[in-house]
Symmetry: C2
Subunit: 466 residues, 2 copies
């Protein structure tokens, strides 16, 4: 069985044995409750020596009573019992084990010894282990979540690999996770293994990673570079400061390496590093929805020059260029701005209402002129969250999406300023598909820069390989 | 009349003349509409040669027909007519003029000459000018907004000074603006003038600034340093990159100085620089609600060590220290965590449910232990946006606010992770008063660092002055 098939047992299981399911609430009990209420479409076999049914599901008295051919066992028992239960599962022919227990290598000492024993048992029995200290896996496409915490699952083309359960809840915008693998202490299955699974998975387009440490750096780099050429890998590095790094040892038993080494390795492999959770969010959405730009030249449409100045600062700080507009572009835009206003980039359509009463026309004419300009690689438009009274709204998600359909090779992104993100106009843009609205222009610029950098890295790699 | 009284005519006017009010929709017409619908509690005198009433308000046929004693004139006429209308207003005894027109120094040439003429007219007549190229002022405490765009006004203790109308809509979280002054091209009234007004204003606790350039740097620095000792000044600098800086010239006719010079000047004067709109938002809220910490030692309570690692990284990157917990603090916390879990900072209360079923007690006991520790200057607690099923929620805004009341001298802040910010639990924390919840831990750390830096600057200045 190759690694992709091995990981498939974890994340696409047809049947799951649950070891350590209490009769009332508790971790294993909650997992069963979640699997049932989510409508997991495989079979579930809870094991408990003292019950006939739990939550209406027939219970096996012992692991040895389980039917043969089960894909995955989730072991939720206290740490001391884990090696013995792993042994029994392997004896029943189960090749994939999720170990939930904390208090192993993450606390060291006796816990670390227990983890070593677990690894030895698995190796000898030819089984693979996810964890310990893990939520396990989530797969929205099978209504599967092995965490004892409830999460809403959405069938989105995003696969997460993490050393924490935090990402099962998705990122803080739109819960952007369709599949998740929590490596926990990563005693066996590691980042490279999970990356290979996602690379082969047609349901996943973007890979999101939260990494504290990688034990086999050489293996990771080889695999990451191959996978990054196929799908964008966006990574947050935990333990990037010396004091944070010392802490990871007591979180997942990892010794987090120096941040600069990871930064250099990520860069070489085409892994896109996100500085924080906001950026993770932005990049997942950007790489999911937007085409890769051909270059670094950005054109901006704004309704106020204050915002235009901020956009120019933000793009320039990120190493992007303000596009020089072609004469034909300027002529087209000149028709919808007052004569006293010079046409340049950023295009200020604030005073356009004095010339053209139709806000939809102002928006479409100027944004289309920019998209149509061969010297423009990406377009950013800036709108207020509310139009002035008596004025037409300038732009709308449907107008923008129509332009996306007609100019599919250039990223079109948006900043809705002065906006409570809860406001209707802002929400509509934030939730529109196939385009991305950012809450600040600095975040818009950062995301456009990451797209351009990744595109350049891919080109370079492909040129080098040719 | 001193400068504070002069600015008071603009932002606390008892009566306003509106020059250039069209009968139907249009800029001046919209201003009148807004003043009426907002319920501005002063008198309004629209001027229009061809109407008796507009929107039910009696109209003066000409400026010379206006009654005497009007505090403020808002001139919304095309740029060529501005100097003449300014002259007529001054002749009627009006000492405060807001000039809305764009196309003056912001476009250069003929426009710049018109602006010079305006300044000369005002100087000769002993009047002050706000603008041109401005929305004017907003003052929620008087239901006053002179912009032609509608905004919701909230009576919050925050005063803004900007060179753009963008901030009239408030920042993107909670529209955090109670008063706003848009300097526009700043041909006369400048940042130092507006700062002096806010310094003297008991309704304003925090001052927010969007600055493209300062013409009289020496005056600004002298005033800013005095004001910063009384109230925090949070500033965003527009035109901070060379390419953005060139653009400001065509926005407000300003030549934005080099970013490093502004950074150094801000630092020397105790002005707190916000890097972007997210940070502006965070800092306004933080300086409004939180006490200044005595030092840089932060204690963290978390429900998952993954988040604890991220918090440690974030705090450490911002130059904050992880507090060493006192033995008494550790003993108190040890009662609510499993024996196998070492008690340290960050405090991991994730496994506490195995020891203490009452989530409220877990929260209060551990957070209070941290607040009570003399070696802790600030406390950050981290919660998921949803508790595990069958578990009590850990923490709530009312519990946190009770702790704020009992420990008023230490900042208590929160990160609700894995959260759609629209989710109930997250919203409740985000909207709670007297504490601040940040959407990412990096933003929490950045804000705590700015509080600590400002506190240190004040101490140093006060020690130096003693």
């Amino acid at each position: 069985m190759d690694i992709v098939d091995q990981i498939r047992l974890f994340i696409e299981p047809r049947s799951i044995a649950l070891i350590g399911v209490t009769r009332r609430t508790g971790d294993g009990h909650n997992v069963l409750e979640n699997l049932l209420s989510d409508g997991y479409n495989g079979k579930v076999y809870p094991v408990n020596p003292g019950a006939d049914t739990i939550l209406g599901v027939k219970v096996c008295r012992s692991i040895s009573d389980l039917p043969p051919g089960i894909d995955l066992a989730l072991i939720s028992t206290p740490r001391d019992q884990v090696p013995q239960h792993a042994r029994e599962c392997i004896a029943r022919g189960i090749k994939a084990l999720i170990i939930v227990a904390q208090g192993m290598a993450d606390v060291g000492g006796e816990g670390a010894a227990l983890q070593q024993e677990l690894v030895r048992v698995a190796r000898e029995g030819g089984a693979r282990v996810l964890g310990p200290n893990t939520f396990g896996v989530a797969n929205a496409f099978l209504n599967l979540n092995t965490a004892f915490v409830r999460f809403d699952l959405y069938r989105q083309s995003i696969g997460a690999i993490s050393q924490t359960g935090m990402f099962f809840g998705g990122t803080h915008r739109r819960r952007l996770i369709g599949k998740a693998i929590d490596l926990g202490n990563a005693c066996d299955i590691d980042f490279a293994d999970a990356l290979q699974y996602y690379a082969a998975d047609p349901q996943v387009k973007v890979i999101a990673v939260y990494m504290e440490d990688v034990k086999d750096g050489r293996k990771f780099m080889k695999v990451a570079r191959e996978v990054a050429l196929q799908k964008p890998i966006i990574a947050i590095k935990g333990g990037r400061t010396p004091v944070g790094g010392r802490l990871t040892q007591s979180h997942t038993g990892s010794v987090a390496g120096r941040a600069e080494i990871y930064d250099a390795a990520f860069k070489q492999c085409g892994v896109i590093r996100a500085a924080d959770m906001d950026e993770l969010d932005d990049l997942i959405l950007s790489f999911w929805y937007l085409p890769l730009p051909r270059g670094r030249r950005v054109a901006v449409q704004t309704n106020t020059m204050g915002a235009g100045v901020m956009a120019t600062d933000a793009l320039s700080s990120q190493g992007l260029d303000m596009a020089e507009l072609a004469p034909a572009t300027k002529e087209r835009i000149a028709r919808i701005v007052p004569r006293w206003l010079p046409v340049r980039n950023p295009v200020d359509i604030g005073p356009s209402k004095f010339v053209e009463p139709d806000g939809r026309k102002i928006f479409t004419e100027s944004v289309e002129a920019l998209l149509n300009d061969p010297g423009v690689d990406s377009v950013l438009f800036i709108l207020p969250s509310r139009p002035p009274p008596g004025s037409d709204p300038i732009g709308s998600p449907d107008l923008a999406q129509d332009l996306v359909r007609r100019y599919p090779s250039k990223p079109l992104v948006c900043w809705v300023h002065s906006a409570d993100v809860g406001e209707v106009a802002a929400r509509e843009f934030m939730e529109a598909e196939n385009m991305v609205a950012y809450p600040t222009v600095d975040r818009a610029a950062r995301a456009l820069a990451r797209l351009a950098n990744y595109a350049a890295w891919k080109q370079e790699m492909q040129a080098g390989g040719a």
